[in-house]
Assembly symmetry: D2
Homo-oligomer: 296 residues x 4
């Protein structure tokens, strides 16, 4: 199973109240023609918290049908309750994900200590039929999975790595330093992707890699070849788009960008909304600056 | 419908993996013998985010059967998606809640602006068969429903009020000042209950009121009678317990306290855990200081 | 020495690069014709951190000359170093302040623990010829003097009380509950003045009380008389101005407001600037709404 | 003037209430035997906020006497008032600093906007006889000098660069991207020094470089030679000490470490305290792990 390189966390296209499986399949097939290492389905960018369980299962089924077995399919299964997460992991594994991506539970923030996270992830990893990838994204969860907890979890045989979407490079570097070589760490923040690779990350799970896969893969490879100056220059080119599709406009921004370049982004599900006109203009400008609008 | 006074947000007792409906019914019957104005079911203290939809419906059914019609039953129905919340509100109304308590959606924090909240609550209130109570609890959600949004929402005919669980008195006071007289505002933070009443709150939704209902109701009435010095003295007596069962130990603390005084608290559902031994001691000490252990 | 009631933290008028002692004296004389309990000189609103030591001494001298002995003159003497604070306290006492107001040192935030604050204030109080008033203002200092530290300090014979300028009512209430009856606690945040009085505060040190002394004194007295509804109504009237002259525009706002009603506010010292035109309009509107512009 | 490489922000040794100039001179002479590019005097680690103006001037004089003209002497001159900073810059220039390091003023945090910072630094740079280095250190100041402000200031002919002590790599990368090639950016956080160099920083101002100058210079040179793997390995070795002497124990930690290796650290000035015994042990362990204790 390949766990190095760049993975896009893909959005879920909707048609009215339903999932648009035809467009989802078309998107996936097109991504599979690039050098992306695989896909992440039902992550934050997949609007997973807004889907019903049956919808989530159907999404995985459609995506798996179009991701060849030599690419890695990572599927989000995190729920607030331990039992809910385990049930989702079992269903996802049966349908065919290679790896279960498990977001930190976060509602009861005041009691989500490192000990609580270790208990939670241990229970999930014990029960999951497929390997578990930890997932820390404080921007959405408001909690933080600290390096000391990750260090303890890294020794579990069914926990293979972590997606660290926070932009805190100090914490990322410490997590990498405190976990074994084989423990995979993905950077999940586009504006710090180059910096995460410098710090020793094994790859990236980046929303913008669904929009500009070649550039993201190229940056990854430049760092591998120790061509840092070129990689940093690329990072500077992609940072503005990374921000627009990340902290600033999130899923709606990602969907809007995909719509501009021939993928199907489509509408978000409420309460998510749309991208304001001024931001649409900024996104199109960045796409043009990156040479991506030409592919339309 | 009575919306003044004190309401306990009740916990959900479990027996193994299932809900313990017998104990739930017994607890409710006992609370109904006090001067509590009603109950809140499926709030944060009800572990609502950890329940399946079917479980949630069953909880409401059991509780409704034991809450007389002249007491107000408020039921939590918030989900992350607008559609999910509306569906839950319809089910809860059919089963018999008098008021739908709707927590702010919070996963996509970066785009949860006041405009987004106004759109969300308007859609929910338009569709809900029963009146809607806004619910702001930043300690758990990491987002904040600002007075300017509440002011706009207060004119909706199906939005009757708000449960403000934040301890920020400046914000609470502004919310009250910017909404009409008939708009109900509940304080939801025990350590600031007296202060919220001073600021003009109409009542409280307080976890500790399930444990010390008489004291909480007494404080409410003292303020009504302008006997502030006595009310403040009572507040000081209950603040330590309020903290222990609130920010410090949350649901596990509340359940532990109930177990000490003859209600059924029981275990929490994972990933929630238990109260550390030292905190158990502190809770028992506070219960003793409040004269509650004698009721066991 | 009177330490109950309302004290304005007065600004320092400048003329070019120098202190305008004539205007300072005129302002003070006028304030002394109201029912204000005294004055605070060289607080945050006095631009104390922007003055040289010699300037600060001269300011105290001018003010003392116009504050009769039966009113209390509180003077700010906080510096970053313990030795600097002690030296300033000795000078201020010699010139004639009744009480030394000592802000938390705050530059080395990471080591400013409760123990460090207790050591600091103990050393200052041991050496100060006049009683010490603790001063917590996290909005400016970025550190927080916690109730547990205040509790320890309250037993020092030369520490008479605290000015708590944070708006956190929970913390204020805890500070009051953990300190003896004779320990004076002033609220220092205008938007929560009524709430602080409800919580048991002995008075207020409020920037707006230099602008609307009668209203502030009236609110204080209404609470003393248990006429809470009227006090709360007054609070609502003054909150907008309190915000404009507090967190929003600070010293520049206060000086602008004073200029509108016949006191001398005048320019701030750089790097402080001026109030934007739109905010000037808002301040004038609030002054008019409070009936203060008529006094011009 | 050399502005590339590694500069230690040196502490100020005290003997009782006075500055120990003999030890200061001895320390400086010893640092000048290493490959450090120069020194920073009167930075945060120099306890500058705790010194009187006369003391500060004397410190610069002693240090300048022992720093050869071909090494760069950077001197901290930041005060809260614009006029105070300008006066300090003029004195420091006259005594002999090559560059004036100017910390953001920070007391009146609520009005320290980008516009305010641009006005402040422009006034200081207009008046300073020597080039100005901006200095951002939110951990101590609680304010943040944003890239958009730095971009505007970078065009001033007397502003040559910036010391960015925050650990936020995203912000550092943006600052570098928005400023001209000749604008010097120093990283000021030891745990992110390698990451800052990757992001394009020109050097570092690191407290630990006074303790382990050779290792810090070596890391700087490794990155210059594109030997990233070795540089990252070195970073991991120094991060624990960087934390102990930075966010955890600050100046007291730095002074303790220097005392262990034959420099004179000595006591801090109150309200700063000492390093707890357990932390002393951790510091000694890290020094031993880095081979530095052998130099004693």
């Amino acid at each position: 199973m390949n766990l190095e390189g760049v993975f896009p966390p893909i959005p879920t296209p909707f048609s009215g109240d339903s999932i648009d499986h035809t467009s989802l399949a078309a998107n996936v097939s097109r991504w599979m023609q690039t050098r992306l290492a695989g896909l992440v389905v039902l992550g934050s960018n997949g609007e997973a918290p807004l889907l019903e369980d049956g919808e989530a299962d159907a999404v995985i089924e459609t995506v798996r049908a179009h991701v060849p077995r030599n690419r890695t399919l990572i599927g989000g299964v995190g729920r607030e309750s331990t039992a809910g997460t385990i049930a989702a992991a079992k269903r996802a594994a049966r349908i065919g994900v290679d790896v279960a991506l498990v977001r930190t539970p976060s509602f009861y923030k005041n009691v989500m200590t490192s000990d609580a996270f270790v208990r939670y992830y241990t229970a999930v990893a014990d029960a999951s039929p497929v390997p578990v990838l930890l997932y820390n994204v404080s921007m959405f969860t408001g909690v933080n999975l600290m390096p000391e907890a990750v260090e303890r979890l890294a020794s579990h045989p069914n926990i293979i790595g972590m997606k660290e979407s926070n932009a805190d490079l100090v914490q990322l570097a410490e997590t990498i330093a405190r976990t074994p070589e084989h423990f995979v760490v993905f950077g999940g923040s586009a504006p710090t992707f180059y910096h995460a690779l410098c710090a020793g990350a094994d790859g990236g799970v980046l929303a913008i890699s669904g929009v500009i896969p070649d550039i993201c893969v190229e940056m990854f490879e430049l760092v591998r070849k120790q061509r840092h100056a070129e990689a940093l220059a690329l990072q500077r080119r992609i940072t503005p788009l990374g921000r627009l599709l990340g902290a600033m406009h999130g899923v709606a921004g990602l969907k809007y960008a995909l719509d501009q370049i021939g993928f199907v982004g489509g509408p978000t599900r409420a309460p998510l909304g749309t991208v304001p006109p001024e931001a649409q203009k900024q996104i199109r400008e960045q796409l043009a600056a990156l040479g991506t609008l030409a592919t339309k």
